[in-house]
Amino acid sequence: MKGYGHTAATLLFLTGLGILLIAILQALPFGLAPMQVGQAIVAAAPGDTGADNIVTAILLGYRGLDTLGEVTILFVAAAAAGMVLGGASRGGAQAENAGFILHSAAYLLFPFLLVLGAYIVLHGHLTPGGGFQGGAILAAAFFVPVLASPASPFNHRTAMLVEGFAGAAFIMIGLVSLVGSDAFLTPFFGKGEAGALFSAGSLPLLYLAIGLKVGSELAGLMARVSGAEAGA
């Protein structure tokens, strides 16, 4: 009845849209798009930033502001979610500890997750991965115990502190570079030799700040959602 008419119409539109998109993409040459900026960056990245991982060079160097924006979005989303869920009833039944396996594994898993997360964050400029990916793993590290024993409340205070200071650190680094070479977010501290842990100037610092911020934010967010879920 009404529902089917509606789905039929949607399907019709979608096929139409698909055909049109395919037609447009045919016009764009696949695989031989003019890599004008990409080629220039690949050539200049090692010289400018000294980072092996060119994607990180772009993320923190050439398009540092994008990353700042990205971090802000995460921060805003977390703050908004916190505000939205702030009202949810905190109480709710105290669920007993999750099953034996999860409980014991959680504490076993915690150190490994921490080491892995830290490694990925610190080697962001060398190997694939970086602040965001590492941060996610760190967040998982802190969240698993909460899953394991919902009774023990997640320490939101410290998470919020870490989050705030890490974000502020990121911008401070940018502003400091502004003082140095009159352009926001310019990499400084020299480039160091390629491939070494302490190379690519201030990029690792930025990635460290991002890692901490993302870690604390996501952990806090997931804790609050699960708290709200329990309460609902």
Binding site: A27, V37, D48, L65, M83, G86, G87, G164, G167, D182
Partner: protein
């Protein structure tokens, strides 16, 4: 050719303040509010300083991270951008939530909104504009839900879904542009566009970007969220969204139109959406029953008018659009403040003028200005629009006719409401008695309108010079590509 590193301050200061605010809020309850207000004040001063510099020495640009134009991101500030940054700062300051809530949530969102909005207008890079647009979008989802009412959550969720889908379409548009042109810097694109973006991919890219950014700019098909959000969100958020943030999105669309897609199909698309927006807004507002939804529809219509203005090629259209945008930014929030105090069916407000004559008088003044009655600035904005519309192709004559017919319908429903205020015995529960504090922003805006009435000539000259500067593509391209060291 001046490069001004402080160009980043309007973006950086609010963001750093937003990050630190929860901490400040945690350690001392009252301090959170004061810290927030102080941050806005500092940003305003920085932006004012920058605006003064730009007005003096001409448009400034600065490459982020010191990387030359096509590679890195370049910020570009001209009079148009600075005007809207200042408008945003003043708006946030004026609509700062009243101090009763102690939670730091709305304050952080407002600060990020401030930073994101400034970045949106200043940035000269396509993807960077998308990121700042997302910041503004997420902040506005949060603020829309900050009312705490069930309807607020439902409305902002539906708005989130719609806007997120729009953003993905915009991202697809950016992908198409990048696939075609290989670069993301607006100035670079401006130089490449004539030969690369002319065909269907270019037109499709503009359409996707237009729909993506159109959600926030309340363009016709994608503004179905407007009535729900403005009905349920707190009044200060509504006035901020309706009055200022929607204008920023339109300015971004204008940037795309002027720099990257100066094609007849692009202008035609924006014109059709604008005309449909005016029709939809005015007619729906005529049938709305309570004041708040009336003004929600009418803001759709007004933004349709601004979209029509921007769709007129050449500096005249831009000048008209800016004038209309500034005027709407002053009038609409005041309307929402009045509507917030007089919720419910219009008929119940009869006799309102007796209990609060000043507010009724302000309502009439605002209605006269928004319809476009001569001595008031609204008329001069509409005059600029018609001047631009009539001097271009006949399609715009139709648009001008629609705008004029829209003004008549607008006059009809606004003065129907005014009729209730001034006429009729006071049968409903008495119109709300106003605590002076609550309506201060509305009266401030009314005063600004009156002052602007006398300062039309200088304002007009300033706006036309701003428009000429914004339409001068080669100069912008030169400033961004070469100026940024």
């Amino acid at each position: 050719m001046n490069t001004v590193p402080q160009i980043i301050f309007p973006v950086a200061i609010p963001l750093i303040a937003a990050f630190l605010l929860p901490i400040a809020g945690r350690c001392h309850a009252g301090f959170g509010r004061i810290f927030g207000r102080a941050a806005v004040l500092v940003t305003f001063l920085a932006s004012a300083l920058l605006a003064w510099q730009v007005a003096g020495a001409g448009p400034a640009s600065s490459a982020m991270g010191g990387f030359k134009a096509p590679l890195g991101i370049v910020f570009y500030a001209d009079n148009l951008a600075m005007a809207f940054v200042l408008l945003l700062n003043i708006g946030v300051w004026l609509f700062w939530p009243s101090g009763d809530e102690d939670r730091s949530g709305p304050y952080t969102l407002l600060l990020t909104l401030l930073g994101g909005g400034a970045g949106l207008v200043l940035s000269g890079d396509l993807f960077n504009i998308f990121v700042f647009y997302e910041i503004v979008a997420v902040a506005s989802y949060g603020l829309a839900a900050s009312g705490g009412s069930a309807a607020g959550f439902g409305a902002s969720l539906r708005y989130l879904l719609l806007s997120a889908l729009g953003s993905s379409l915009a991202l697809m548009g950016i992908a198409l542009v990048y696939a075609a042109a290989g670069t993301l810097n607006l100035a670079d694109l401006a130089l490449l566009a004539p030969d690369v973006l002319r065909g269907p991919p270019g037109a499709a890219a503009f359409l996707l970007l237009l729909i993506g950014f159109g959600v926030k700019a309340e363009l016709f098909p994608v503004n179905s969220w407007v009535p729900e959000i403005y009905a349920s969100a707190p009044v200060r958020v509504t006035s901020l969204l309706a009055g200022i943030v929607s204008k920023l999105a339109l300015i971004v669309i204008l940037r795309f139109l002027v720099l990257v897609f100066p094609m007849p199909s692009a202008y035609g698309l924006l014109l059709t959406l604008g005309i449909l927006g005016v029709l939809a807004g005015e007619l729906a507002a005529y049938r709305a029953r309570d004041l708040n939804s009336t003004f929600a529809w009418s803001s759709i219509a007004q933004l349709g008018v601004i979209a029509i203005a921007f769709s007129i090629p050449g500096p005249a259209g831009i000048a008209a659009g800016i004038a209309l945008a500034l005027h709407h930014a002053v009038v609409k929030p005041a309307f929402f403040f009045i509507a917030d105090k007089w919720r419910g069916d219009v008929k119940l407000l009869s006799g309102g003028a007796r209990t609060s004559p000043l507010v009724a008088a302000l309502f009439v003044l605002l209605s006269l200005s928004i319809i476009g009655i001569p001595p008031l600035p609204g008329f001069w904005a509409k005059y600029l629009l018609l001047d631009a519309a009539f001097s271009s192709s006949p399609a715009y004559w139709l648009a001008a006719a629609v705008v004029l017919a829209g003004a008549v319908v607008e006059g009809a429903y606004l003065f129907r409401a005014a009729g209730f205020f001034y006429g009729g015995p006071q049968k409903g529960r008495g119109a709300a008695l106003f605590m002076p504090g609550e309506l201060v922003p509305a009266f401030v805006l009314g005063a600004v309108l009156l002052v602007a009435m006398f300062a039309i000539a200088p304002l007009g000259a300033y706006i036309t010079s701003m428009a000429v500067q914004a339409a001068d593509v080669p100069a912008i391209a030169a400033q961004i590509l070469l100026g940024g060291n």
